[in-house]
């Protein structure tokens, strides 16, 4: 009897001790959408943070694709199941702003009585995620699209790998040359096809929606089809008809075609760079270049993709403290450099960028510079070139993909895009009814 009581008391004391320990330890759930080779890199970064202070822990939870993560957060919040910290892709920017579920990033240091220099983040990222001059989400994994190409295929077809195509006409010509030489049958695939349409608009200083591309106020209608989109879709259709462009699915689906050598070129996010290089290994030489364009239209810029970090407005001060420490940690040059080198995402801070320059990283791996240089060298002075902000963006992209699938099967440009425009205009109106 006595020994039982002993055991019970010991148990009780241990539980109490554990209890106090647990209450000092603050664990913050962090929902993310880093799939593929990027999961391990993210876990390493978070692991590094968790080692610093055992009382401040971030718990990364993979929530599926970006689209699923966004849907899950919006669904979880009303019932109190949302995480304090969530990674949301750029498509969800306006939805998150309108959701009323978040603390705008610039208010986080204020709430903790701290200061933070947002000027340290690189320009394109700040511009994309800012509203009225303030950052609304925390810069993290930013990317843009670029052209990947298989230099060995170029050589085999007698093309100069130092002269990748710069215009769509050249892509088409190169494609026919590669086919004629029997190197490949399909030449180019687009990762995130809907996003590539958005990139083309911005790259030629064309608006997606009105109200300064949805950046001054909510967009009320789409600003296409135009003569430009006719040209674009006609070109894509012609390339598809010649078998040069293969519509090979959404998101990262075309990567397997490129890495296995059945496609010579691919438009894809920089964030796939390290994954692709690891998969390809020494099989062939992967090179990268700016996104192809049409020289007869004005120059704009490529737009930011990837994701940024949002904090739920229900996060407690203790949670917020951990999150802010995590943000500070992410801004450390060595962490940012590690992230960039292992994923292909942009370095987010100027300090990291300087360190990379000083190390000679960009000479060592020029592919890591391509997309960054592309976005730094473009225009920055209006909404068209910074990129659109749309409430029902996820839904709008469905319709864009349908239009592109249609174009790849030879549907006339106007027909394909008119249908998408009609649908998206309805969505924008519905959003306006509720967003105000």
């Amino acid at each position: 009897m006595r020994s039982l009581r002993h055991v019970l008391i010991t148990l009780l004391v241990t539980m109490l001790a554990l209890g106090t320990f647990a209450s000092a330890q603050q664990v913050v759930d962090f929902w993310h959408g880093m799939t593929g080779s990027r999961v391990a890199v993210l876990e390493q970064v978070v692991g590094g943070f968790n080692e610093i202070d055992p009382n401040m822990q971030i718990n990364p939870v993979l929530m599926g694709t970006y689209e699923e993560g966004l849907a899950r957060f919006l669904g979880a919040y009303p019932v109190g199941q949302e995480p304090p910290l969530i990674q949301i892709y750029e498509v969800g920017t306006q939805a998150m702003h309108d959701s009323g579920m978040i603390i705008p990033a610039y208010q986080i240091p204020e709430r903790l009585g701290e200061e933070w220099d947002f000027g340290q983040y690189v320009g394109p990222i700040v511009r994309y995620y800012s509203r009225d001059g303030n950052l609304w989400s925390w810069p993290f994994a930013s990317s843009t699209s670029m052209l990947y190409y298989n230099a060995d295929h170029f050589r085999a077809a007698g093309l100069d790998p130092n002269k990748p195509p710069t215009t769509w006409d050249e892509v088409h010509e190169y494609g026919l040359a590669l086919q004629a030489a029997g190197v490949v049958r399909d030449v180019i695939g687009f990762g995130w096809p809907d996003w590539q349409f958005e990139q083309q608009l911005a790259l030629h200083d064309q608006p997606y929606v009105d109200n300064d591309n949805g950046r001054a106020d909510h967009g009320t209608q789409v600003m296409w089809p135009t003569e430009f989109t006719d040209t674009l879709f006609a070109k894509w259709s012609a390339m598809a008809a010649d078998g040069v462009w293969l519509y090979a699915g959404t998101e990262y689906s075309p990567n397997s075609g490129f890495t296995s050598g059945t496609l010579t070129m691919m438009l894809q996010s920089t964030s796939s760079l390290d994954g692709i290089m690891r998969t390809v290994g020494d099989d062939f030489e992967v090179r990268t270049a700016f996104i192809p364009r049409f020289n007869e239209y004005p120059r704009g810029n490529s737009i930011i993709g990837g994701n940024s970090l949002y904090v739920s407005d229900k996060a407690s001060d203790a949670e917020l403290r951990v999150i802010f420490e995590f943000f500070k940690y992410l801004a450390r040059p060595e962490v940012d450099v590690f992230w960039h080198k292992n994923t292909g995402y942009f370095p987010a801070t100027n300090a990291a960028l300087k360190q990379l320059m000083d190390e000679g990283w960009f000479q060592e791996s020029p592919n890591h510079l391509t997309a960054f240089l592309q976005i730094l060298s473009g225009r920055t002075d209006n909404g068209n070139v910074v990129g659109s902000r749309i409430g029902p963006f996820v839904d709008a992209r469905d319709h864009i993909r349908v239009a592109m699938e249609d174009a790849s099967r030879g549907v006339a440009p106007r027909d394909a895009l008119n249908r998408a425009a009609e649908r998206i205009n309805v969505l924008l109106q519905e959003w306006l009814e509720f967003a105000q």
Binding site: L74, M101, Y247, G249, S253, G257, V394, V402
Partner: protein, 294 residues
């Protein structure tokens, strides 16, 4: 009035857990869905406007919904019709007196052990437009180049065939069990009376299998309406266009990706009525027509 003499509480206590689980996880959400279907709900749930039957009206008028309905019906018909036909054929073969019959009987059940999502990953990879091995094989044999990411008919067929394939093991399993219950005397009597094996099958075996068939039609209906979700999500995400956006997947896309909860709720009410009436009809006909006793 005492339904269970001598046991006042026990029977109710025993069924309480089941009833509680059903109430909490099925009845409550279902009532909520019905309630929500009368509202227009803003993308973040902050604004709810009572709109009466507007969600239902919009659905009935929506060409996308009609298309999704027709696609789903066609899909169900093919999955059930071909699925059961093929399963019965294989089951009959596997129960013949052949060497290794036991091996075949087990081997055919394997497909069911795989979750639809995993099967989806495999099928999507096999038919990948650029690196898929079956895409290449199909082209070598027929000269037709399938790209299920742009070809609506191709995507529909791919999803349909994959769905039949997954369910095949389950169906075969039940048919084998059913076939083993058909008494040999009856078949032998028919053969002695001069019926060929084909005729003996149709007049003896097939009617004797009708309880199994009725049950399988019911299970496969539920499968085709609801359980294909995992595979659709992995293989096509409802595309290309909305060719494979079947009713259950459309509810998910509209409710969660497109943030239209009210309309999605209305769709789930419709889907419930549809499946409930189909299931009711099947149970009614099968209890009337199936031969349960010998």
């Amino acid at each position: 009035m005492n339904r269970f003499p001598g046991h006042n509480i026990l029977p109710y206590a025993l069924i309480f857990p089941t009833v509680a689980v059903i109430a909490v996880f099925l009845i409550v959400p279902f009532v909520q869905a019905i309630y929500m279907s009368f509202f227009r709900i803003s993308p973040f749930g902050r604004v709810r406007v009572y709109t009466g039957l507007r969600n239902f009206e919009e659905l009935l008028r929506s060409p996308e919904y009609l298309q999704s309905f027709l696609n789903t019906m066609l899909f169900c018909a093919i999955v059930i019709g071909f699925g059961l036909g093929i399963a019965l054929f294989i089951a009959v073969l596997a129960t013949q007196k052949i060497r290794g019959a036991a091996f075949y009987q087990v081997a055919f059940i394997w497909t069911y052990a795989m979750s639809p999502a995993i099967a989806g990953v495999i099928w999507a990879l096999m038919f990948d437009p650029s690196v898929g091995i079956f895409t290449a094989l199909l082209e070598t044999i027929t000269g037709f180049r399938l790209n299920f990411t742009t070809d609506a008919v191709g995507a529909f067929l791919l999803v349909t065939i994959a769905s039949i394939w997954i369910m095949l093991g389950y169906n075969i399993c039940f048919y084998i069990a059913g076939l083993q219950n058909v008494p040999n005397e009856l078949k032998e009597a028919a053969l002695v009376d001069g019926a060929g094996p084909w005729k003996a099958f149709w007049i003896i075996t097939f009617p004797m299998l009708s309880p199994t068939t009725a049950f399988l039609i019911f299970v496969n209906t539920l499968y085709a309406f609801f359980m294909v979700f995992g595979m659709l999500d992995v293989v096509t995400q409802g595309g290309p266009g909305q060719a494979t956006e079947f009713l259950v997947y459309k509810i998910y896309r509209d409710g969660f990706a497109r943030l239209r909860e009210g309309q999605a709720a209305a769709q789930s009410v419709f889907l419930f009525i549809m499946v409930a009436s189909i299931a009711g009809f099947q149970i009614w006909t099968s209890t009337k027509r199936a031969v349960y006793s010998r």
